[in-house]
Symmetry: C2
Subunit: 387 residues, 2 copies
Amino acid sequence: MRPVSIIGVGCTKFGERWDASLRDMVAEAGIMAIEDACVTGEEIDALYVGNMSGGRFVEQEHIGALISDYAGLSRLHIPSTRVEAACASGGLALRQAVLAVASGYQDVVIAAGVEKMTDVSSGTAADALASAADREWECFFGATFPALYAMMARLHMRRFGTTHEQMAMVAVKNHHHACFNPIAQYHMEVTVDDVENSPMVADPLHVLDCSPISDGAAAVILAPTEMAGRLSDTPVRIAASSQASDTLALHDRRDLTTLDATVHAARAAFSQAGIEPKQVDVAEVHDCFTIGEILAIEDLGFFEKGQGGIATEEGLTALGSSLSVNTSGGLKACGHPVGATGIKQAYEIVLQLRGEAGRRQLEEAEIGLTHNVGGSGGTAIVHILSR
Amino acid sequence: MRPVSIIGVGCTKFGERWDASLRDMVAEAGIMAIEDACVTGEEIDALYVGNMSGGRFVEQEHIGALISDYAGLSRLHIPSTRVEAACASGGLALRQAVLAVASGYQDVVIAAGVEKMTDVSSGTAADALASAADREWECFFGATFPALYAMMARLHMRRFGTTHEQMAMVAVKNHHHACFNPIAQYHMEVTVDDVENSPMVADPLHVLDCSPISDGAAAVILAPTEMAGRLSDTPVRIAASSQASDTLALHDRRDLTTLDATVHAARAAFSQAGIEPKQVDVAEVHDCFTIGEILAIEDLGFFEKGQGGIATEEGLTALGSSLSVNTSGGLKACGHPVGATGIKQAYEIVLQLRGEAGRRQLEEAEIGLTHNVGGSGGTAIVHILSR
């Protein structure tokens, strides 16, 4: 398997995009990525698109052909493949694109992600998101998607003494980071009190513990590392790409306070990259709910199990600390257009490693990690990127 | 890229499966395939699943994790990836699995396909299927999915003199073949008069020109050819795997009587396999409507453009002719559980090449081809298999 690098990136503004359809947004992100890399449309060999639920949100499937068409690539008849793993659809598109290039089968490949979520009512959107969980064994019995994470939070609190205040600090930190990110959905600081006084969704998770409903798209362009220097002034190497799965329903899991899919994907990724978690400078992790970031920083090996809440409280994951987590604002404050998130994570890490992250730029960033979760942990995808 | 072979196959009965859910059917097909190959669950490295619209049909996304879970593989935490290209989702799952093995990244990989379509009303199902077309530029203006193929049929009739009687003969042939196939949805002969007297759906296409709404699942297991002899007594080699895309909407196409995606995918496949179309003994082609088979046998290079109707009328594609087309009964009569179809096509060709196709077994079958189309031709996937 040959080494692969990212040679171009693009990302739309995230938020309520009344001005743009699904196809508009992905074309916008794709064009930004193509302009960022020194490639033309004719040089692109294949397209992978992550999208969770075009069928439910915009009544459109066949997303691969749609995107190829609106990216102006249909006349080239190149393969265009949509992949889906719920909220990890974007990370999965990136991984499939990495495999296509690493195998030598294709050279220049676009990995894109997109979701248009605001064209339906919030109830319909919540129900579409619940299709990431086990419809027959969870949702039919009344579990909403926040309720599943609330159960994980409750057990984490009971077993490790994690407090809701610590969870709220994840939101405080990520909203702060988002204020420095021009593409973020929210440019608004929040306090622990704001989180604790916001309406309850599923005890202990308040509205401000939850990532929002968002529209957005992101794209990255990959090439073999041996070609990357010619196609980009600032290529970023993909040091590892891994994927793991777990049971769809929570009740079948070994342990509700650990996402085993994350543990397995992380272990494989660190082994591929030949590095230790402590060598990572910056990480974009899957904070669909505040408890999600606490689980993630433990399961990825950055902190001991049970220590994620305290680590957050002590500021060990804040911008500029030895491990900066969710410098983009994360899903929580940058926004979470589901299929786009995994690609946006790579976009953010690439900006940080290139030194192009503007007001949120880290002083030292050599190695970055992205962590994208599908559903309540049925899928986890981890990538490690390095300068 | 190393050679890849199919070492095991399984397929459920197609039809209105009131007795089985999506997860039941895919587990059933997967277990058949695992039992057919000499492998255990522990030897499986990855899973690819083709599914068009679990979101619309059964309100379930995150299909990869679901299938891994219900196949009993979640404890192994292997990667499980759902791919979607509308009606070509099954073929796309097969192609992604071929790439995974060919690249050396994984050894033993399952490619499965599934669709559960009968749990919703026929109107909802028709609308879900229309999401394979361009929702914004076709469906919103009143085009149904049969209407798109009807336009292709009308132009084919006008330009080449193709008759509706010739289209009806596709249905007559494929229903005849299905009578010999135990998994087929319909075991019922039809006549040209039956087709012409059946209710009109979109002129010139009658109900009996259309493939049905179906439930079903299929699975195949792949391994590197160098390992295949150890894992199967009757491995079948994958001589080519190709994919091409085209515009999503018909009105942007160069020519309405040709699916350019099929032409490009076929050209690439024959080049990979190093054979000519006339060397193919048996083909499963995408007859979602009767005109679809006529277009397919032309675009794949078996007959000159415009000659598909006459070739059908002359019996050149019937069971036992030099090119037997849709010996399974095709989408038309074997049934069309959308995501399963591309895998069922490979299942049928494997049975024919192994000599295990029972009452529909061909005397000489060395080389077979599968052709799976997404939507009205936005995606086409071609595989060539050989003994």
